[in-house]
């Protein structure tokens, strides 16, 4: 192989490799051949050797100490992160299981610091977000034990908001999520079940509220279960605003605490009914359930709506002459007796119920009056719900009895919800008593299918329902509706002045309804006792909305007037003599 066959760069590399003895035999032979004939190659080889020797002559430097101890400690730190002394007693490295490094560099420490900072920031932001979510202050005060997590709080609330308006009146909860002023209830309530966690105050309170009286039968387990579920829920604060507005002036922010106390009072009222002495036969869990109703129906006064759902109802069938209907004589009669007529168009539906703060006295409009004749056959029955003291109702009944020129007949009936027949078997007889009082005003024709001893009479179950109503009517207003006792005084003044002593609301039943429903069924439907249909729900919501918003009197009663044209009496009737 000639010299010219080698490339200069490659030849010089071979010289370097020749110096290191890293050539193949062929390469070595070629280099040696070149060196034999090329002085430049010899010179370069000397230079490369000199460089190599110069570097090789550098003195060896040592660490100067044994690094094994330091390395062992670092490995321990890496393995256990926190510098756990698990293996600190040994300086040997090999006892530590090899693991991936975590804090082996400054960058790792920087990232760890950033992660900690981010966590702190999230904690701060989450705290602020809860405030924005308007969690009740009282619930938050003892909320450290209230709920396990935000998710646990949120989901039950959503579920609860989706509860249909008509669900048998078994909605749970509100009281449970009220938070702070729970101790009085718990103090007077029966002991919690043995499995209740002593660390969860809310859950404990719920269980206490939900613990049934010994005579409550099979209800306890179900009730307690519901309460447990509710324990994790958070009240929807906006639902309380209207009731707070009625209860007294307060800022939206302070409304939460007052809301809680108001509902708590309602719960206490319930407890007074159920857990405490007066009504041991009523399950305390019902008391809890009843307070949930306002959240669903936007009703003031907490569980009263629910109570009334389980009560018997006095129904007065009034057969009015067409001229009286056109002239709004019935509305005038109510107004004369101090009943504020709250007219709401049924077509407004459930959405109208949110306007409950408006209590304008509304008269039937002219268009409605004009349509009444044409719609008489289609809508033969006007349902007017009256919430008023007994004396006001009696006065209205007396007027009805005396006004034969406008009203052909007056008939009193006591409607009893089917559920309450089993739910409150020992309820006292208030509705019966009221029905008996009002029945003296019967006049004209009476439906044959409503014999007095059938649905109007004092059957045991009806008696119980009426008794429940009586119990409620005997309760102080502040415990029944969650209103403060200070609100009683204006109400009494109003009654003394004979102004706005009661409230009434009109609804209408279609002809089809009267064909498919008996009067008693229609009355029950209007009162929200039966049926799960959408319209029934609307009716119920509207009825519930009219819960004695201003008359907190202990003798308030509810009467359902079924106002039908004389010629379109919904049921075959017979003449009765009074």
């Amino acid at each position: 192989m000639s010299e010219q066959e080698f490339q200069p760069e490659l030849d010089d590399e071979l010289l370097s490799a020749y110096l290191d003895d890293e050539l193949t035999a062929e390469e070595r032979a070629a280099v040696e051949a070149r060196l034999a004939n090329d002085p430049e190659a010899q010179h370069l080889l000397h230079q490369l050797r000199s460089v190599s020797q110069s570097v090789q002559m550098l003195p060896l430097e040592g660490v100067g100490r044994d690094l094994s101890g330091e390395i062992s400690r670092r490995i321990e730190t890496k393995n256990f992160g926190d510098g756990s002394p698990r293996n600190s007693g040994s300086s040997a490295v090999g006892e530590i299981t090899p693991r991936l490094p975590i804090f082996g560099s400054r960058r790792s420490w920087i990232w760890a610091s950033l992660a900690v900072a981010a966590g702190l920031m999230i904690m701060v932001l989450e705290h602020g977000e809860e405030k924005e979510n308007k969690l009740p202050a009282l619930a938050r005060n003892d909320g450290a034990n209230v709920t396990s997590s935000a998710r646990d709080r949120d989901e039950p609330v959503k579920r609860q908001k989706e509860v249909p308006a008509v669900n048998g009146g078994k909605d749970e909860s509100r009281t449970v999520s009220l938070g702070a002023p729970r101790s009085p209830i718990a103090a007077s309530a029966p002991s919690p079940p043995a499995d209740s966690s002593p660390t969860d105050k809310d859950d404990l309170a719920v269980r206490k509220l939900a613990v049934p009286a010994p005579s409550s039968g099979g209800a306890p387990a179900e009730t307690a279960g519901r309460s447990d579920e509710i324990a994790a829920s958070t009240p929807a604060p906006e639902r309380h605003d209207a009731s707070r507005a009625r209860g007294g002036a307060m800022s939206p922010r302070s409304g939460y605490s007052i809301s809680a106390s108001g509902d708590t009072k309602a719960a206490m009222g319930k407890l007074g009914e159920s857990g405490a002495a007066p009504r041991p036969e009523t399950a305390a869990g019902e008391g809890v359930a009843e307070t949930a109703k306002p959240e669903v129906f936007d009703t003031p006064g907490g569980g009263q709506a629910e109570r009334e759902d389980t009560n018997a109802l006095v129904v007065v069938h009034v057969s009015a002459k067409p001229t009286a209907i056109r002239g709004g004589e019935f509305e005038k009669l109510l107004t004369r007796n101090g009943v504020e007529f709250d007219e709401q168009d049924q077509a407004e539906g459930a959405a109208a119920t949110s306007e409950k703060g408006k209590k304008s006295v509304a008269r039937p409009t002219q268009s409605r009056d004009a349509n009444r004749d044409t719609d008489a056959r289609k809508n033969p029955v006007d349902i007017v719900v009256v919430d008023a003291p007994r004396d006001v109702v009696a006065a209205c009944m007396a007027d009805l009895q005396q006004d034969a020129s406008n009203f052909a007949s007056v008939e009193v009936e006591v409607e009893q919800p089917a559920e309450s027949k089993e739910a409150a078997p020992a309820a006292p007889d208030v509705a019966k008593q009221l029905g008996s009082e009002l029945r003296q005003y019967n006049r004209g024709i009476v439906s044959e299918k409503r014999p007095a001893d059938n649905q109007f009479s004092a059957s045991d179950s009806a008696n119980k329902d009426r008794g429940q109503l009586k119990q409620e009517s005997k309760q102080p207003a502040n415990t029944r509706d969650g209103q403060s006792s200070q609100n009683n005084q204006p109400s009494q003044n109003q009654r003394a002045s004979q102004a706005n002593r009661g409230r009434a609301m009109r609804m209408q039943a279609t002809e089809n309804e009267t064909q498919t429903l008996s009067d008693s069924q229609l009355g029950r439907r209007a009162a929200g006792f039966g049926g799960g249909g959408g319209e029934a729900e609307v009716l119920r919501r509207r009825v519930v909305q009219q819960q004695k918003p201003q008359t907190e009197d202990s003798d308030d009663v509810r009467v359902l007037f079924m106002l039908s044209p004389e010629a379109a009496s919904p049921a075959p009737s017979k003449k009765v003599s009074d």
Partner: protein, 191 residues
């Protein structure tokens, strides 16, 4: 089974002292090489520790197909490359002086020879510091650690041909740096 292999096996088996003996066996050699690459005793010591720690954590991945020190050097030089690329200083004058020892006092009989050796070492060390990191590494591996081309190729994870050419260029650059200072011509001529 070599000593290294037995120590590694013992380390993996939980022998407390085995890995410590491996550290003791290689820490100074590795430190010296890293000192010539990084130019700083402190950095070299840090990388030595990092390399041993990382070697320990990956010890179960060591297949034994190569020498332990080759595997350890590969870890260490990768760490050194990362360290150097983060902008750390390589060698300072003080570092160089510390590497070659204190300057001899004037007028002493052994001063001339000592001064010559110290000056020479300092110049070489400075020249190494002027090489690129790749050239510095390969020069150290070959001239200081005496690694073969195959070992260098494994440590640096490059082909053997690359080792040869890179080493040649590193030497040529080192020659250019040292020629005016050490009078290679004279050295060569005197040989």
């Amino acid at each position: 089974m070599s000593d290294d292999a037995s120590l590694i096996a013992a380390s993996l088996a939980g022998d407390h002292a085995a890995f410590g003996r491996l550290v003791a066996a290689y820490q100074d050699r590795l430190f010296n090489s890293l000192l010539r690459v990084l130019g700083s005793r402190e950095d070299a010591a840090d990388i030595v520790q990092d390399a041993f720690v990382q070697a320990f954590t990956k010890l179960n991945t060591f297949r034994g197909g190569s020498a332990f020190y080759t595997w350890l050097y590969r870890i260490a030089f990768n760490l050194a490359m990362s360290h150097a690329r983060r902008g750390r200083k390589t060698a300072s004058l003080d570092d160089r002086k510390s590497l070659v020892g204190d300057e001899p006092m004037d007028g002493q009989p052994t001063a001339e020879s000592g001064m010559m050796q110290q000056e020479r070492a300092e110049l070489v060390h400075a020249a190494l510091g002027e090489l690129s990191l790749e050239y510095r590494q390969i020069m150290v591996l070959r001239e200081i650690d005496g690694c073969s081309y195959d070992e260098i190729a494994e440590i640096l994870d490059v082909p053997v041909g690359t080792v040869r050419s890179r080493l040649f260029r590193a030497r040529m650059e080192m020659k250019e740096l040292l020629s005016p200072r050490l009078h290679f011509e004279r050295i060569v001529d005197t040989r």
